[in-house]
């Protein structure tokens, strides 16, 4: 079932949580709502579920106005950030809850319910916790039970609020991949909220980047990462170095070095240049005219790449990342002189 958000606005007192947002999620898609806290992503999810009411605009489920339908009749599976498992019920009763509260006419027999619950437990690979209580489970297990409980009522749409937000890094990674595989098997239209860009980029088919109640960009992970629509998206999707450039007579300068920026006009006064840490090349010797001279201030060799803190002559600091092989070849030490060349430029802005 597709979800369509049409010009939705929602305020809490004077605070505009969502400001005229429109968005379409196609059937079977896995979409991430990505943004910092307070960007309105959870509110949007709750409006779709019917847990909040929009001040303006509406939500369409498969083209049908959802405002007519109450939360309990919307047939959405909602997985809460803190799982919201029923603490006084066993895992089995938690999962069976949605099946048992159905009206008598359409309720399954307890035999059928048992079969269904076992099937779901198998799906989330937790068959053995059936008789346990939520507090006896680890965070990751609770998360999967919460998912199984939401799936029990066979929702047409799955909404997940920060599904991995309160788990430790290792479990988070595992569950992330698990969710991706799981979605590929079930193909249920899913929307999940996260503030973790890595998570959004890794799991989602499409990413919706939100900020201050509005959408900054919608695109595939590749699009939002490599072609950010604006400086916010760029900043939010990973570390980036910002350089303020002087523009004179249609040419941009970093310090005294000219930087070739396509599209610089005569009327441009200054430019902002954004370069990601891995887009630098570090050399011992200058390469052409555009190399920036810098001193190595700090080296962090732990990890896949080596992270360097550099300081330019003009006092700007640069964060650069190079491969372990490059690092070994350069034999870098602290306080060494190096020359930095931008390999590619992610994004730039002009001040007119």
């Amino acid at each position: 079932m597709s979800i369509e958000v049409k010009k939705v606005t929602k305020s809490f007192g004077n605070f505009k949580a969502i400001d005229n947002i429109s968005l379409k999620v196609d059937t079977g898609e896995l979409v991430a709502l990505l943004g910092p806290s307070g960007s309105g992503k959870t509110t949007l999810l709750r409006i779709i579920a019917g847990l909040e009411t929009a001040d303006e605009g509406n939500i369409l489920f498969a083209g049908e106005d959802a405002r007519e339908r109450k939360t309990k009749d919307r047939n959405v599976g909602f997985v809460f950030q803190h799982y919201a498992l029923f603490r006084h019920m066993t895992v089995y009763d938690n999962i069976a809850f949605g099946l048992r509260v159905k009206p008598k006419e359409i309720r399954s027999s307890s035999e059928q319910i048992r079969f269904k619950v076992r099937e779901l437990l198998k799906l989330v690979q937790l068959e053995w916790v059936e008789k346990r209580y939520p507090w006896q489970l680890s965070g990751g297990q609770r998360q999967r039970i919460a998912l199984a409980r939401a799936l029990a009522v066979e929702p047409k749409v799955l909404l997940l609020d920060e599904p991995f937000g309160s788990l430790d890094a290792q479990v988070r990674k595992e569950l992330r991949q698990w969710l991706r595989r799981f979605h590929d098997d079930l193909h249920i239209t899913s929307l999940f909220v996260t503030h973790d860009q890595e998570e959004a980029l890794e799991v989602a088919d499409r990413v919706v980047v939100m900020n201050k109640g509005t959408i900054e960009q919608i695109g595939t992970p590749d699009q939002v990462y490599h072609n950010p629509a604006n400086a916010f998206v760029l900043n939010f999707l990973g570390n980036v170095n910002l350089f303020h450039l002087r523009v004179e007579g249609g040419k941009a300068y970093m310090g005294n070095k000219e930087i070739a920026l396509p599209g610089v006009q005569q009327n441009v006064k200054a430019a902002k240049l954004y370069i990601r840490p891995h887009q630098f090349e570090i050399r011992r010797l200058p390469l052409g005219n555009s190399s920036i001279k810098a001193a190595v201030k700090y080296i962090n060799p732990a990890g896949m790449t080596v992270k360097l803190d550099l300081k330019t002559e003009s006092g700007d600091s640069i964060q650069a990342e190079i491969s372990q092989a490059e690092f070994a070849a350069l034999k870098l030490q602290r306080n060494d002189q190096v020359f930095v060349n931008p390999k590619e430029i992610t994004f730039y802005d002009f001040d007119i």
Partner: protein, 303 residues
């Protein structure tokens, strides 16, 4: 009080070499405090309780049984029970409704409602009783109308029940509000997204989650409803066999120098107090258990 002075000396001498003596000091302080608490308990609680029972039985079991099976005593017991049976359930309904509204929703005037709920606790019980005299009494606002229609409220059981309801008003709500606030809305919202109706959500999710707090409130409310003296005394009129509750009956017996009978009746209230305390401690361990469980829960949440 005399014990406080040497203890202060101990304290000051120990500050000189506190690193080595820290544990000694805390042991001294610990036993001193325990001593005070025990002394206090003994003088103000155990001794009076023992007195009540000693006096109640000092003329033998027969006198005791006679005292509490006296028709006036039985009538007082009946009225006390009737009052509790009406006041406690009403209190439960109001308590759940009010705490639900306060803990789960935001609305204008929420603080006013909170303050109003606490009002009966901050007002003298005598005033609580007088309110009803002023409303329903012969000189009161509704008095003449009621008299015309032959409805008797003041100096009759209805006023006693009303005054008791007023006095016990905050008992359940005050227990439930913090519990409901701490639990939040998550589980209810989860139940609704799973297709449960509002009523089913309340019965299957909310009620089980607050059951210990609710029981605790009921126990306290019941104890207060049966033991209330001030407010009830004002509105009762002390008509023997008709408008006397157990506490009022005790007072009358005492004023007539019928000590054995007075203490026998008092022993019933003392029994009630002891049962309440036992029930309370059982329920408290239940609440503790619950909090421990949800504590583990929230502990993991913040990871």
């Amino acid at each position: 009080m005399a014990g406080g002075v040497p203890n202060l000396k101990v304290r000051s001498s120990h500050t000189l070499n506190r690193s080595s003596q820290l544990s000694t000091e805390s042991a001294v302080v610990k036993w001193f405090l325990i001593g005070i608490a025990l002394l206090y308990l003994g003088i103000f609680l155990i001794l009076p309780l023992a007195c009540v029972f000693a006096n109640a039985f000092n003329k033998g079991i027969q006198a005791y049984v006679q005292a509490i099976t006296d028709p006036d005593a039985l009538a007082a017991i009946r009225l006390t029970l009737l009052t509790a049976v009406i006041a406690v359930p009403l209190n439960v309904i109001f308590g759940i409704a009010a705490s639900w509204a306060i803990a789960k929703f935001d609305f204008r005037g929420k603080n006013i409602l909170l303050t109003l709920i606490d009002l009966p606790l901050s007002v003298s019980p005598v005033i609580s009783g007088l309110i009803y005299i002023l409303i329903f009494g012969a000189q009161g606002a509704l008095g003449p109308w009621l008299m015309e229609h032959g409805i008797k409220i003041v100096f009759a059981p209805p006023a006693i029940i009303l005054a008791t309801i007023f006095v016990t008003f905050p008992m359940v709500a005050r227990e439930l509000i913090p519990i409901m606030k701490a639990q939040g809305n998550d589980e209810e919202e989860a139940a609704i997204t799973l297709g449960a109706s509002g009523f089913k959500t309340f019965m299957l999710i909310t009620l089980p989650n607050i059951k210990w707090g609710l029981l605790y409130g009921v126990i306290l409310c019941n104890a207060r409803a049966m033991g209330e003296f001030g407010a009830v005394s004002v509105v009762s009129g002390h008509i023997r066999g008709l408008t006397n509750t157990l506490p009022l009956h005790i007072e009358i017996l005492y004023n007539e120098y019928r000590f054995t009978a007075a203490f026998a009746a008092a022993s019933l209230l003392a029994f009630l107090a002891i049962i309440t305390l036992i029930a309370k401690s059982i329920i408290e361990s239940g609440i503790y258990q619950e909090m421990r469980l949800s504590g583990t829960d929230s502990g993991d949440k913040s990871v």
